[in-house]
Each structure stands twice: as C-alpha cells, then as structure tokens.
C-alpha cells in the first residue's frame, strides 16, 4: 500500500482516532501528540496488516494499543501560529457541546480497559469484534459492558 492509499484509508477513520485521543489524554497538546503517534504506528504496521480482520478493527486495535502502551509523554510546547485552528466539521449547539463534555468527563474516570471496551461499543462493534480487538473472552464482554454502563450512569448522576 502506498502513501496515497494509506491516507485515503485513514481519512475515513480520523473521527475515531480523535475520540481515542480525547479519551486517553487530557491536554490538547498531548491529544495532538497521541494522534500523531497513532498515525505513525498505523503506517509502520501497515505491511504486517494481512487483511484478516476488517480495516476498522485493525485501526481500533492500533489506536488503543498506542494510547494505552505509550508511557512517554512529550512536554507540551507553546506554538505560535499565524493560521487559525481547524474548524469543527459541523457547528455544535451549546447543549450538545455540554453533553459531550459531560460524557467525556465521565468516560475519563473509567480505567483504561473500560475506556477501550466502551469506545468499541459506542462505535457499534459486535461483542465478537470487541473480543477480537481487546482479547477479552467474548462471553465476558457483555458482563464487562453492563458493569461499565452502570458505572457511567452513576458518574453522570453525580
């Protein structure tokens, strides 16, 4: 796969990578760095991707592996730029922004494995796919998800 094909592939999955970054890192600088790390790991790993799993499943796996395994964090740098930051894809209502803020704040309180499982659930993956990405037993995925959902409900009621 050449660079152009790879970039086309990634382009369609940017949203999930951004969400993983937002969930696993606090500051925008750290999120930006993690995004870059994930893209790099995907590019590095593409020759070993045999196509046995769906591309999206592979992307989730690499994104989560990178987010959880990377322990080194670069110190944030202050960068001055003359260009304005990228605009959001769609204008968000204040209410939606607030709901997202609350949701992400609650999700960040979960432990690393719980974050991974709920992310995959939100991305509409089946229990079998969640099991494939995480390595958790398929029967146990449902049990874990119920626990996580209860935990989130409690967190959101606070």
């Amino acid at each position: 796969m050449d660079e152009k094909q790879f970039l086309t592939l990634i382009d369609g999955h940017q949203g999930i990578i951004h969400k993983v970054c937002r969930l696993y890192r606090d500051s925008p600088e750290d999120q930006e760095d993690l995004f870059q790390e994930i893209i790099y790991q995907l590019w590095r790993g593409i020759p070993s991707f045999k196509g046995e799993a769906k591309v999206s499943t592979w992307i989730y796996r690499v994104a989560l592996n990178t987010a959880i395994a990377a322990f080194r964090k670069k110190k944030p740098e202050i960068e001055y730029t003359i260009a304005l930051p990228d605009l959001l894809e769609e204008p968000q209502s204040e209410e939606l922004a607030l709901r997202q803020e609350r949701l992400f704040a609650a999700l960040k309180q979960l432990d690393e494995s719980e974050k991974a499982i709920i992310t995959l659930y939100f991305e509409e993956l089946s229990y079998q796919q969640i099991a494939e990405v995480t390595g958790i037993n398929e029967n146990y995925v449902g049990v874990k998800l119920n626990r996580i959902k209860n935990k989130i409900q409690k967190l959101l009621k606070l």
Binding site: F6, L7, D11, H18, E37, R61, N65, Q153
Partner: protein, 180 residues
Amino acid sequence: MELDDLKSTWNRAAAPAKTTDELLFMLKENNHPVLKGIRKQLTIEVLGWSFFLGVYYTMFDGGQKPLLINLLLIAGVLFSIVHNLMGYGLAKYLETDLSVKKALAHYLLKLKVYALTSVASRVFLWTGFILFFTYNIRFTGSKYVLLIVAVTIFVVQLVVLGRIWMMRLKKLSNTTAGFM
C-alpha cells in the same frame, strides 16, 4: 443523560479533520513527537559522553589508574547510551498486530526489562564514576564529606528512579489485568 443518549452524543462528537498534508507529515519518523524528543536527548548525550571519553584519559589521569577501573567507567557510559537506544526502540516498535490484551502483556514484559536496564545502567555509571574519581585519593575529612554527599545523591536518585518505575509498572500491570 439517559444511557440511550450516550451513543448518539458520542457519535456526534466532532473533531477537526487533518488535511492530507498534515497526515503525510505524521508518517515520517523524524516528525514523531516522542521519538524526536528521545533523539534530541540521545544526540546531546552521545556528543557529551563522546567528548568526555575523548578527554578523560588525559584530563583526569586515566593512564594512572588500573585498566579495570578505566573499563568500568567506559562500560558505564556505553551502557547508558545503550539504555537510551533501547528506549527509542520501545517507543518506536509498538505491537500493531496483536489484540490489546496480548500487546499489553508483551509490552509489560519489555518494560520490566527496560526498567531493570534503566536502574542497572544508573548503578553502573555512578559506580564507575565514583571508583574512577576516588581511586588513589588520600581521603581527608572534607573529602569524606564530599564522598558521602555524592553517594547520598546517588542513592536518593536511585530510590526515586526505582519508585517511578515501580509506579509505571504497577499502573500498566493493573491495566493489563483489566483485560483479563
């Protein structure tokens, strides 16, 4: 917020899309934020240590000290560089073809080895330095004080380093257990 709303809220979370040029920039190893940092540190350290190894023999009378102590000092410096190179490899070669659970188990194992190397390289380096610079010295009261200060700093550094690694490994171990 009702549970049913969570998914739709999640799905509607928008993010600034990167342009093709920005993504292309991210594919290059030279631009990797973590690897760039490690490379910069590695370059500074290699230059510094190379200079030290180039001058220590004449500047600090390496010729008047036993070969074993010279070798210990050089090995300590080289070990420190190797340790940094290992860190580079650890950050670069993350698992991409295994499930999160298996990848984390592998990573934990590698990190344990790296943690041990980290502590061992520090011990090696300081031992080499202390032996080299104290060999053939006639100790007076003030020199003993200096030695005690140096050894204390070394021990404190080592304890802090050990604790940092214990915390990192414990955190990763707990995360790995979460996937069991």
